[in-house]
Each structure stands twice: as structure tokens, then as C-alpha cells.
Symmetry: C2
Subunit: 193 residues, 2 copies
Amino acid sequence: MTIPGYMMGSPTLPPAPLKPEEIEEIKKTLTLTDDDLRFLRMSLPIVEAHADEILDVWYGFVGSHPHLLYYFSRRDGTPNETYLARVRQRFKQWIIDTAQAEYDDAWLRYQFEIGRRHHRTGKNKTDGVDSVPHIHFRHLFALAIPVLHTLKPFLARGSHDTETVERIFQAWQKAVLFQLILWSYPYVKEGDY
Amino acid sequence: MTIPGYMMGSPTLPPAPLKPEEIEEIKKTLTLTDDDLRFLRMSLPIVEAHADEILDVWYGFVGSHPHLLYYFSRRDGTPNETYLARVRQRFKQWIIDTAQAEYDDAWLRYQFEIGRRHHRTGKNKTDGVDSVPHIHFRHLFALAIPVLHTLKPFLARGSHDTETVERIFQAWQKAVLFQLILWSYPYVKEGDY
Ligand code: HEM
Ligand code: HEM
């Protein structure tokens, strides 16, 4: 079953604007290693099984904050339920993609696409929706806190010991931050990134 | 004893480019509350007592990564020890300021100054040093991971129970992310922030 607007692996996506060695440097600063990828993959069965519950919490957070629900609303201020539902499908797939941790060139190209979708250059186009034109940079990284905080209890629901759950959580923190850094690309002034 | 180049509270700093209600919105997305400020202040005695040890670890991290030491180096590639030492003094004060959690207008104005200092618009000016012109955006948020990860064991050295240490650490995560969001301002395209 295809997910509308999900373009991971699409040959139509342009190449990443960063060279592989530049990507490796970011991972070094993040201390994102193959061990973290291992821990991420350990979380795949749990997050896949609980994806809808996790999304309920995240959507609840956005929905209860007018200044965030704003970005899913029409210009007349009414929340766009179609938009919320369509994005939710891709957000669900994103949980799986993040846990699968196959951070290859196809995945990388899609990160720059997701960045554009948050930004005025790509927002609303995927779902052809009437909504506000752009998600302000100021909220992007900020949302990582509630997203990760609400994910943590679900990670503990598997059969792993406390130390392993902590390592899995740290890996998720690095993976989310890594993606937000890549998603920031269209927001940053030319030459500053 | 004054810290060279430390400008917290200086009347010469321009006002913040965001309105107070915009700052409050960012804090809402971050879920940064007065409780977090309370937990940050709990950490003040510990981080102040261990500031030099903490800085040793952070400087060790930067120093052992050529792609990061680069930003403290002269254009001929040699690390600028004066620069490293001068910034270290202000980084030490930053630990205390973050823990004191007095996030008022003076503090806010200084965050936008720190942002400029990482950016081509202000880098090197404070210490009048010969170094590379700009710190690339891609590494800013990434460094939060090692900075916070290496801070955590020090937070546990006080007399607080495990749950309190965890709350203190979460507050530190929010405080660091909050500041990085503000420091990003000069990097982001006009109208996108
Ligand atoms: C931790 C930070 C964030 C994460 C992990 C995240 C995740 C995602 C994902 C996975 C998608 C779908 C990408 C795709 O099309 O495949 C998406 C799209 C979207 N996100 Fe975010 N997001 C974050 C921050 C934000 C913020 C702060 C807002 C503001 C409410 C926001 C609003 C949206 C909207 C409106 C879309 C649809 C964009 C479009 O294609 O028109 N996101 N996000
Ligand atoms: C978590 C991320 C970061 C934190 C918490 C942080 C913290 C600080 C602080 C507190 C200062 C002194 C500000 C002042 O003048 O009062 C500073 C300056 C500086 N930082 Fe960062 N920083 C971060 C990311 C980075 C990165 C990724 C680099 C790259 C190596 C870097 C390199 C520098 C340099 C070279 C200066 C001196 C800038 C100047 O005034 O010329 N920082 N940083």
C-alpha cells in the first residue's frame, strides 16, 4: 500500500547538496556511530507496534498548542483535517525509517525534501492543500523536546534492560537532531550552512 | 574580576529581534517551564564547582576533532591558543548563566550577540583574533549532543536522587536547545525564522 506523497527512494529527488565527507563530519560532531544505528534498529519492533499510540501523543501535543496547530490550518484559521491525516501517514512511516536507520543516499536525498516541505519552498505542495505558507525555523528544533520526551516511555515497553533502553533513547536523540540539521538546509543563508 | 569580551547586561547590545510573546511561544514548543528553571538553579552549585573539569572534557572533544578545532584556528591551520583560552573564560561563565536561569531581557539580548559571534557577522571580533571567518550552521546543534552527554555525569555528583538528576538533565537539554535556537537567528534567511 503506497503512502500518498511519500518519496523515499524516488529517482526524481535531486542529489543532496552536501558531499559524503561533509555528512560524515556532521555525524562526528553528533557522535552518531554504527553502535547508535544498532540501537535504533533494536527499537524497530517496539516503535512499529506502538506507532499509532506515539502519533496520538504527538498529534495531541500539536493540536493542543494553537501556535503549532496554525501550521496545519487553512489561512482562515480552521485546522485542515485532510492535511493532518495525510501528513500523519508519512509521519508514521518516518518513525519506521528512523528506526531502520538505513541512512544511505536515498534516505539523505529525502531528508532535503522533508526540509523543503517544512519550508516555504515546498510546504503544502505534496498534499495540494490550502494552509499557511511556511513553518518558522524557531519551532523546528524546539519540537524535538516533546517528540523525544513522549517517545521515551514507549521505548521502555520492549524486553530490553534499563541501560539498553537508555542507549536506544540516546540513539533516537542523535537521529532526530541529525535529521533536523539536514531539514534546516533551505532555511539557512547561502554560504552559512 | 571582569571576563574579557563578556557582555551580559551591556546597554550597548541591541534589543532582541523577537517580541516577548514570540519568545514565550518558543518556550511552549520546547516545554520549557518555571519548573525547569527551578531544576537548572538546583544544578548551579555542582556545575560551578566542576566547571573547569566540564570545560576540560568539552575542550578535549573539540581539540580531538580537526574539523571542529578548525574554527579556533588561524587561517594557516594552527590552533589559536589565545583564542581558545579567551573563549574558555566566557564558556565557563556561560555554564553559570545557564544554571542561574535568569532568562530576562538582558540575557536574551546577549543570546543574539552570542549567535552573531558564532556567525560571520561577529566571529573573531570580540578577541580581535586571526581565525576562520564563520562557524558553519551544520555543527551548531550537533555539538549539543556531546556537550550534554559529557555534562550528565557531573550533574549526578551532587546530593540529589536519581529522579531529580534526570529532571535537572532534562532542564539542561531544554536550556541548551533554547539558546541554540536563539543563536541561529543570524544564520536564517530573512522572513524564515
Ligand atoms: C522534531 C521536529 C519535527 C519532526 C520530527 C517532524 C516530522 C515530520 C515528518 C516526518 C513530516 C512528513 C515528511 C514527509 O512528507 O515525508 C513532517 C511534515 C510536516 N510537519 Fe514536521 N516535524 C517536526 C517539526 C515540525 C514543526 C515544529 C511543525 C509545526 C507545527 C511541523 C509541521 C509539519 C507540517 C505542517 C508538515 C507537512 C509539510 C508539507 O508537506 O506540507 N513539523 N514533519
Ligand atoms: C552546543 C553547542 C554550542 C555551545 C553550547 C557553545 C557555547 C559557546 C559559548 C558560551 C561561547 C562564548 C560566547 C561569548 O562570547 O560569551 C562560544 C563561542 C565560540 N564557540 Fe561555541 N558553542 C556551541 C557550538 C559551537 C561549535 C559547533 C563550534 C565549532 C567549533 C563553536 C565554536 C566557538 C567559537 C570559535 C567561539 C568564539 C566565537 C567568537 O567570539 O569569535 N561553538 N560558544
